[in-house]
């Protein structure tokens, strides 16, 4: 075999061997056990801190809100969409029987125009009618910068929730 071929074959063999060794060294241990991913990723995800409790859990204590909501346009919305993640609230609220929860456990009460506008702000390009197939309704759009902005009598700024019950808008 000519000299240059011998050297080339050796160089390529060394390169491929190095690649295979590095692959074995660097590949995560649990890779490939269950599929084309790190099997440990499942445990790692399971170990992550939970934040949300789910509407079913909210209903256990706040059944009157649930009854309101179930009859209105927001029936399909999860409570935590507006009130924020509530698992800590659920887990520890029972320990404060007098109802005086510390601020860290209190859930957010959205009452600003900004928060309603996230879904309901008028947008010329947004499809005008989005049917909620369950309630056979649509997401109403208003111009939050103009729609009843100021109370005509008090001259103070009006909040959306002063006219609309957020649980049954």
């Amino acid at each position: 075999m000519p000299q240059q071929i011998k050297r080339l074959v050796t160089a390529f063999a060394v390169f491929i061997l190095m690649f295979l060794v590095l692959q074995q060294v660097l590949k995560p241990n649990s890779f490939g056990k269950l599929g084309h991913y790190r099997a440990m990723a499942i445990q790692e995800n399971e170990a992550r801190e939970l934040h949300y409790a789910g509407s079913a859990r909210c209903t256990k204590c706040h059944d009157e809100m649930h009854t309101d909501k179930a009859a209105g346009f927001h029936a399909q919305l999860q409570c935590e969409v507006c009130h924020g993640p509530g698992l800590k609230h659920v887990l520890y609220a029972d320990k404060f029987k007098d109802g005086k929860l510390p601020d860290s456990l209190k859930l957010h009460k959205p009452d600003t125009r900004k928060e309603c506008a996230i879904c309901h702000q008028l947008n010329a390009a947004r499809i005008k009618i989005v049917f909620d197939t369950v309630n056979n309704s649509m997401i109403k759009q208003v111009n939050a910068l103009k729609h009843n902005l100021v109370d005509k009598h008090t001259k103070e700024e009006l909040k959306c929730i002063e006219c609309h019950n957020p649980h049954q808008p």
């Binding site: 084309h36 600003t112 700024e157």
Partner: protein, 403 residues
């Protein structure tokens, strides 16, 4: 209270119409523009070198070595824009050690590796092996050591061994041409196969990418050749330059026609995405598409090179024209990549709106970072030209023996 709503409006002020929340900011910025641009320069430069070798176009001989070293310089940097774009660049190797066969990007790693290791490095090695052995005998110190390492400590430069080098080099070139097509066709495929994006999703994309790559690679080698002869204070080989220019002209015509076909196809089909793309092209992309890519990058070079096919002014004027045309084409192809990568992210996949793109000077996705990855290949090229000067190759004395 109104302030809060104003804040919301401020965020949305960069948006026209309706876009999904994850479309407001562009995920792929200038570094992802550079990736197909640099890869294209590699493929194009290599194909120019192959023309000389496969089709025996000896008139192109002065640019053969330059084209190969240019291709290698840019190839070594081709993945760097991608890696520096990553949030966790030190995990970049994972795509190679646990590749998934259904991942287009993972397979690109192997297409890249094949092209670098089996095509480019091998061809350059066979081309330079004898010279490296000779130079190892003529030089001292670090340079001598480098030549010895690079030639893999071979010493055989007998006519038989050199003939074998040439034969094997030729075979590598023959394999190299389809490999170069594969490399850049693959980059086009990565964009063309994204069916959710109507601006990218066309089967013509790999072909368009390939031809624009050849155009940009030839223009780059032409520019490097002109600048290099100027720096070395040598007279330029006008027959070679004229030949490169005529190839550039023909390939540019094909590139123009292919892109035109793609647009005609889109216009005639007028799918549901047509309106949003139409407004994109005449709105946010007007300057980069019609002015930079179309006028400066295609029409002016086409007319100029076309005129030079019939009318040949003095050599000095032609040289100046070639210099300007090569720069225009390089800029034009850069904006072609820009229009694909950035353009594809400026419109909402709801087809109801547009976002805007603003690029900063500094930061990992800024102009400076992009400039670094465009300058580094030229530094590598300077080093390679110092180490492996094509003009010092012992072309005419095959019997030269190592000292």
């Amino acid at each position: 209270m109104v302030q809060h709503i104003q804040d919301l409006y401020e965020v949305l002020s960069k948006v026209d119409g309706y876009v999904y929340p994850n479309e407001i900011e562009l995920n792929w910025s200038i570094l992802i523009v550079l990736y197909p641009y640099i890869t294209g320069l590699v493929a194009g430069a290599f194909i120019l070198a192959s023309l000389e070798r496969i089709f025996n176009l000896h008139v192109l001989r002065p640019t053969y070595g330059i084209a190969l070293l240019t291709a290698l310089s840019f190839m070594l940097v081709a993945t760097m824009p991608l890696i520096s774009h990553l949030g966790k660049p030190f995990r970049a190797y994972e795509i190679m050690i646990t590749p998934h066969l259904t991942s287009a990007m993972a397979i690109f790693g192997f297409v890249y590796l094949w092209y670098l290791m089996v095509v480019l490095l091998l061809e350059i090695w066979f081309d330079y092996r004898r010279d490296m052995v000779v130079w190892a005998g003529e030089t001292k110190g670090l340079k001598r050591f480098l030549y010895k390492v690079l030639s893999l400590w071979t010493t055989d430069i007998s006519p038989k061994a050199v003939a074998l080098d040439k034969k094997l080099g030729y075979i590598v070139t023959v394999i190299g041409v389809p490999s170069a097509f594969l490399l850049h066709g693959y980059v086009g495929f990565i964009f063309g196969s994204i069916k959710a994006n109507p601006w990218w999703s066309t089967v013509l994309m790999p072909v368009i990418f390939l031809f624009s790559a050849i155009v940009s690679g030839i223009a780059l080698v032409m520019l490097v050749y002109i600048v290099l002869t100027r720096i070395r204070k040598l007279s330029i080989d006008m027959a070679c330059l004229d030949m490169i220019a005529s190839y550039l002209f023909y390939i540019l015509i094909m590139d123009f026609v292919l892109e035109g076909l793609d647009q005609i196809h889109r216009i005639y089909e007028a799918e549901e995405s047509f309106e949003v793309l139409h407004n994109l092209v005449f709105g946010r992309l007007f300057f980069t598409l019609f002015i930079m890519q179309g006028l400066f990058g295609t029409v002016i070079p086409l007319l100029t090179l076309g005129t030079l096919q019939f009318y040949k002014p003095k050599a000095l004027i032609r040289k100046g024209i070639y210099l300007v045309v090569s720069v225009l084409i390089l800029v034009g192809i850069f904006f072609m990549r820009w229009n694909v990568v950035i353009g594809g992210q400026l419109f909402s996949k709801s087809f109801y709106g547009y976002t805007t793109f603003k690029i900063g000077l500094i930061g990992t996705e800024g102009y400076l970072m992009a400039a670094v990855w465009l300058i580094v290949p030229f530094l590598i090229l300077s080093f390679l030209l110092w180490l492996l000067p094509p003009w010092k190759k012992h072309e005419d004395d095959p019997d030269v023996q190592v000292n």
